[in-house]
Amino acid sequence: MEKGETMVSFRHVSMQFPGVLANDDVSLDIRQGEVFALVGENGAGKSTLMNILYGMNKPTGGEVYIKGQKMTEFSPKAAIARGVGMVHQHFMLVPSFTVAQNIMLNNEPRRGIFYDFKAANDTVNRLVAEYGLQVRPEDRVEDISVGLQQRVEILKTLHRGADVLILDEPTAVLTPQETEELFAVIRRIVAERHMTIIIITHKLYEVMEISDRVGVMRQGKLVGVRNTAEVNERILASMMVGKEVLLDALERVDDHDETVAIEVENLQVRDSRGLMAVNGLSLRVQRGEVLGIAGIEGNGQSELIEAITGMRPIHGGTVKIQGHDIRGLSPGQIRALGLAHVPEDRLSTGVSAKADITDNLIVGKEKRPEFSLKRVHMKRRSIRRYAEEIFRKFDIRGAGVDTLTGDLSGGNMQKVVVAREFSFDTPVLIISQPTRGVDIGAMDFIHQQIIAKRNASCAILLVSADLDELYRLSDRMVTIYEGRITGEFLPDSIEKTEISYYMTGGGSRKEAAR
């Protein structure tokens, strides 16, 4: 097949889910040998469209052609047979298997009735040489970094003979450096093997960096396809949201009262496997400031936050909230000291998906006199009135306060969490990944709320995997690596590349020398 020929063709594709038209009459051609970026807000329908191509969903309308052939059967098996491969956001690997075993899964080499480890490793080494993606076939997947795991996923699809490769938010879990490496790999397989790459992403600068063409989706529709060279981030952002977004209008009022509200001293916390995830970590947060914690996931951020909020026992050291030692206190008792918490995983910790919005907004306030008589009899009318007020104030978009929280989009669900926690009006806020998987509109709204809290002299501890977010919100930043703080910076005095150096442990020696 010639470079530039149409590989994949969507013709008037629609996908109706209950209550949601996820794809609305999408027609799109993707050509051989190009890197095609698909961007859009959360819930714009990017993943749905690609899941159709990979056979995970059968469209409710329209047709899909791969290499000129109409797709009749929609299953990953059929898609793989036609050369379509997909690397999902959450990897589909067996952690306890080796790299080679994972790549050869469902295609195992045998000698007699036995697994042929040597043949598997040889095949993988051949693939590695062929595509220039460095992995060691005998490593266990659970022992290697996320970036390498992603490579294993890519090799798996290549081994199955894919020439169209779909990457669903591939950089969400990567460090800046790993992202660079991934992009180098993409460029190489496109240049050398004429692969077709479709990359789904939120991050516009990545679109500019890696793609040849870009398609923008909004509310299920494809609103435009452009040559990347002819657009810039600003144009793309405004296509995505339908209106110009100004992401730099956060007003700060500087009125530090300098009381230390969060004080962590030499903290040690074990993770679920019993390993020391936080090891001798100290930090302080004053009222009226946002302290951002930058780090690659899995370096103890989650355990740190869980320890501060009472969800995980403290092994050593002290944590003081508003001057009170919290060791041994329950989450409820710590909240009573004046702390509210936006957790990193809203679905497992931040909401009850089976309860409606009202219930999720009122939790923790149900025993207040305005909502219950003698802390027992719930005043349903005033609860509803309150929920409706918060619902409007935080611009939550759903049918109404009776909507099941599990039916909301990620952004709106996050707004429910933020709305509830912020309206406790506590002097201390612990915020983890406030805008993960949230569209730009909701993200900007949440950022403004956070800064408003800061200006109202809250002490805010912010953990985020998104450096842009940390830069935008933090007054001070620290980097965390293997459970320790490796450096402290002011956001405007350090480059992102420098920060990522500290996040990967590069600065630990320097820190010791300081």
Partner: protein, 358 residues
């Protein structure tokens, strides 16, 4: 009403109607007139004071056991051990009651109520603590504890506590006439216990749907991590849910024995608890639904007997109808989703057609 609730009621009505329809078809096939059959069923259950009495008695039984399941389930614990809690509650109350024969009922009955509730609650507390503190599955422990309790009570009724009266098989000494709950409608099984049950039903409904404790229990059951995160004392609520569940079962055991049986008898229950558990599961642990469904199942059960005697249609048919309702409600989730998808797809085609015309 919430959309969710409305959809559920529609599904439930469909399931009930379909089940009755299938029942009618079976009657036709076996050469009976369905109108006659169902006529006998409903007049049997609701046509005479005696029928109404028996129906209410059965419904009350289902209602209490159903609510007992639901109140624990709301807090995230699945109590399969109600039968055992009921046996122990009944035996303890009867033993205390019979030992105080001759005393004032104003003293003895409240005391027995307390004993029955406390015994049932205690027997439910054991698996609850094992679950909360040690993570041992309550489903397994409660099932096994049923056997222990039932065998123990049977042994007591046949051995140490066996009555000296003649002609009474595996029963304890009879209770003072003044302690007994009298029949309200002659010839029916309905006793004064219905008033106690009505009060309990109201209290449990109120607790589950109108109080902060019920609200916190609900969130604990839905997402325990979220409950803990929000400062709810989830473990404590799970235990409280189990205590209430066990107390209700213990009380029902006492009602049965102080009412119909006039003593503890080892065969007083025909697995009552499991019927109620089923009702609770069909109604997804929603109190109002459980109350209504108990009434309906009561009608079926009692009417079925009349139907058999009057028209010769086997009362087993009622079991078939009940099973079909349960079957449909179990399939409801999947069926509804498919219907929604199909409707959505059809709507899409229609709107696409309109666009084409324009």
């Amino acid at each position: 009403m919430k959309k969710e609730t409305k959809n559920y009621l529609v599904s439930l009505s469909c399931a009930v109607l379909l089940a009755l329809l299938i029942g009618a078809v079976i009657m036709l096939i076996t050469g009976h007139n369905p109108l006659e059959g169902y006529g006998a069923l409903f007049t049997g259950a609701l046509g005479t004071p005696r029928g109404i009495g028996n129906t209410l008695y059965k419904a009350a039984q289902l209602c209490i056991t159903g609510l007992a399941t639901a109140v624990a389930a709301q807090a995230g614990i699945f109590n399969v051990g109600g039968e055992g809690q009921m046996f122990l509650g009944a035996l303890a109350a009867c033993w205390v009651g019979a030992s105080l024969n001759g005393q004032s009922p104003w003293l003895v009955i409240p005391l027995c109520l307390a004993v029955a509730a406390a015994t049932g609650a205690f027997y439910a507390w054991i698996p609850a603590v094992m679950k909360v503190k040690m993570g041992i599955s309550e489903v397994i422990t409660t099932i096994l504890m049923n056997t222990i309790a039932i065998k123990f009570c049977t042994y007591m009724a046949n051995g140490p506590l066996k009555t000296t009266e003649r002609g009474v098989n595996q029963g304890t000494a009879s209770l003072d006439k003044l302690f007994r709950f009298d029949k309200l409608i002659p010839g029916s099984n309905l006793t004064e216990t219905i008033f106690y049950i009505a009060v309990l039903t109201f209290l449990v409904w109120y607790l589950m749907t109108r109080t902060t404790a019920g609200f916190e229990m609900k969130l604990t059951g839905q997402n325990p991590r979220f409950a803990k995160f929000s400062g709810i004392r989830a473990e404590r609520l799970a235990i409280i849910g189990m205590l209430i569940s066990g107390a209700l079962c213990g009380l029902l055991g006492m009602f049965e024995c102080f009412g119909l049986q006039t003593r503890f008898k080892a065969d007083f229950s025909n697995e009552f608890y499991f019927d109620g558990m089923l009702v609770a599961m069909i109604m997804r642990y929603k109190p109002v639904g459980i109350i209504l469904m108990s009434l309906f199942f009561g009608v079926l059960k009692i009417g079925g007997i009349t139907m058999q005697s009057r028209t010769g249609i086997s009362s087993e048919l009622i079991l078939i109808v009940q099973s079909i309702i349960i079957f449909f409600m179990a399939a409801e989730d999947g069926v509804m989703q498919r219907l929604r998808l199909r409707r959505a797809a059809r709507g899409l085609v229609r709107s696409a057609g309109k666009d084409g015309e324009a």
